[in-house]
Amino acid sequence: MGESILLTPVDLVKYPFLPEAKKYVAELGIDLNDLGELESIVDRAKVRIAATFEFLAHMQNQAPYKKSEVEIAAFPVAAFVVAGVKDKTLAERYALSEAKKIYNYLLDEKDNVILGIAKFFEWDINPSKQGPFSYTLHFVYYLRNATKGRLVHSPEWKLVNRQLDKGQVSVTKNEVCRLLQEEIKNYIEDRTKEEVTKIPQLLQDVIEEIKAEFLKRKPHLSEFDQKIQAEESEYPPCIMDFLDRTAKGQHLSHAERFTLVTYLLHQGIGVDRIVNLFSNVADFREDKTRYQVEHLAGQRGSRTPYRTYNCSTLQTHGVCVNPNDPVCKRIRNPLTYHLRKKSIKKRE
């Protein structure tokens, strides 16, 4: 990672993921096995994690602990505990909550701190004064983050709508902070997905406690886990069109076939039925089609089922049938078409 910046302990409380914070903790001469003694650190770590779901709500609004070393040390402990729980959703939510907090701190910072943190992530970024823009950022670092989280869905973050000159994207200070939020979220998430070994007993107890509390609440937290499958009459216009053309034996492009098959698999349609759908297509070969469908279903190869393309990807490949469909305008992925349609109907 890039060069370091001069930071005070007060700064390290705000940015405990930086290597300087690690160094600071190391110099205090405590290691994870001794932490059992340091209950206040563990408590602060628990509060950090609990902020990601409604647990220990009464402690959420506490100011950072008065001793900065406790607050700084609580961050690696919290990351360690989250890694110990081994739940992807918790890791993501934890990383997001830490990154959002940091975003708010960054908004009040001067250039040198913002640039320092950006350089830690090796960004190619430079101050520049051009109208509302305070920086230019190389498009690679811009895209790495502008295609993540919610940013990917807003038109003002699309590269085509930015000033892009010789590889440099003009960005405002707020935008840099927002992009850093994504970078930091990613960085923390990676840390909380690391394999943990040699867990001290006290932390083992904390891991169990957090895990139990989190699993209790998890079903309410993730909307994508909703398993309400669509009836055929509720399929989105693109899927209807692909189905219709397949039945007629017409050729579908790779992107169209991928979308159709992954969509149907997510709706719980079996591999056999899907393979049969293609039997009218010229040069249909059952073995080949079956292999491909099973691959997309995650029964072969990487063993992970493929997710249906987002609507924006279908538009890029020119296979979106009707971007002006009133329901389509309000969804990001064909998989949620029927859910959105139902919720619109309910309101009417």
Binding site: K158, N161, L164
Partner: protein
């Protein structure tokens, strides 16, 4: 009848092995290769080579109809897809006349109904006009017109890669694909780790997808402030506006959604508008409201965007044709085009490998085509036609001719 093609391809790859070898891609040891054989329908994938010589030797033994390598680098290029360990990928672009509506398609492309053999010109219809069935065998040809269209799109693309994205000339390599288009490879450390989503954003920028006027500060009040020297889409819109004022037809304006009256106004006042723009620095024009502006700008975006194959660029595990190899549908070579010499590049000359000898062929049917300086055809049931090797090979690869025994 493709035996002749296989024989000539093998001859070419043996010649390369003995002489100037086909250059291996950078990071050879981390690339996956795939060869399509003449007599097999499937691809030999997951091949890897340690040296340029090993690659050339394999090509001369297999004599594939088409040879590909991965734009990606892998830790284990010969492993199954899930165990390859992706390390990064070059940024690649494909521009193919198939993706560009060209006026010549109606002249040289044809289709035949699989059911009743009824034939027609251009792209296949939805249903056969004779029997109503929907399966066709279609043939796409290449000619100067569609290759020029593809070249124009490639030049636009390369310009964007340099001006907008800041790639240097040494990072960009352009090639004639050997068939109906061009490939552009960007090899730069900075882009290697970009994922599919980030590449999709690059694609959208290039094809102008999702462009929204309000984010580009084209106007201030009634004044157009975009200038041709401005970078990226802002400058392109300014340039496009000049172009539209001098060239676009009334029909095109109406097709872009302009009301007849507005389109007429544009059409009738071109000269005035143009001089207005150049003299008074883009002073606002009362007669054109914001909705009309938006439509005109969308038309400009469409004209100024480069029509690339979106799937190729967003796929981070793509196999792309190996430069220096032959194209199984034409017998032409995938050959590099220098960026400075693009305008004058003649693919139907530079892509030719076999420059000597004559071959006697029976030709079923072929539209007019050119190779080098010579124009051939059209042919209809031409038996025993004597053609230069490259022309004969082209027709054999296209599947419309057969070499007469004893005349190879």
């Amino acid at each position: 009848m493709r035996n002749y093609a296989k024989h000539k391809f093998a001859e070419y790859y043996k010649m390369c092995l003995r002489g100037t070898q086909i250059e291996a891609p950078s990071h050879l040891k981390n690339r996956e290769f795939g060869f399509l054989a003449f007599d097999k329908t499937s691809m030999f994938r997951h091949k890897g080579f340690e040296t340029e010589e090993a690659l050339n030797r394999s090509l001369s033994v297999v004599a594939p109809s088409d040879a590909y390598y991965s734009s990606a680098f892998y830790e284990h290029p010969e492993a199954d897809m899930s165990k390859k360990d992706w390390l990064g990928a070059d940024l690649v672009f494909d521009i193919d006349a198939d993706h560009i509506p060209t006026p010549c398609g109606k002249i040289h492309d044809s289709w035949a109904c699989n059911n009743c053999n009824f034939e027609g010109k251009g792209p296949p219809p939805e249903r056969c006009p004779k029997c109503g069935k929907e399966k066709f065998n279609s043939k796409a040809w290449m000619c100067d017109t569609c290759l020029e269209f593809a070249k124009a799109e490639t030049i636009k693309l390369v310009d964007m890669l340099m001006q907008d994205f800041g790639f240097s000339e040494s990072e960009i390599k352009a090639y004639f694909s050997g068939n109906r288009g061009y490939h552009v490879h960007v090899e730069s450390k900075t882009v290697l780790s970009l994922d599919s989503m980030a590449r999709k954003e690059i694609v959208d920028h290039i094809i102008g997808l999702g462009f929204e006027t309000e984010f580009h500060k084209l106007t201030e009040g009634n004044r157009v402030v975009a200038r041709t020297e401005m970078p990226s889409w802002r400058g392109r819109i300014a340039k496009g506006l000049h172009l539209i004022l001098s060239r676009v037809t009334l029909e095109e304006l109406e097709a872009a959604g302009l009301k007849r009256g507005k389109a007429r106004y544009f059409d009738d006042n071109r000269k005035e508008l143009l001089s207005h723009l150049s003299d008074k620095g883009w002073l606002g024009i009362k007669e054109i409201g914001s909705e009309t502006w938006k439509r005109i700008i969308q038309l400009i975006v469409h004209q100024q965007s480069a029509k690339i194959d979106t799937v190729v660029t967003t796929d981070v595990n793509r196999l792309i044709r190996l430069p220096g190899s032959l194209h199984g549908k034409t017998g032409f070579m995938k050959v590099e085009v220098s960026l400075s010499g693009f305008e004058g590049f003649d693919p139907l000359k530079k892509g030719v490998v076999f420059k000597e000898g004559q071959v006697v062929v029976d030709i079923v049917e072929a539209p007019e085509f050119r190779i080098g300086e010579t124009q051939y055809g059209p042919f209809k049931r031409a038996l025993g036609a004597e053609l230069p090797t490259a022309a004969a090979l082209f027709l054999v690869c296209k599947g419309v001719a057969q070499v007469v025994n004893g005349h190879v």
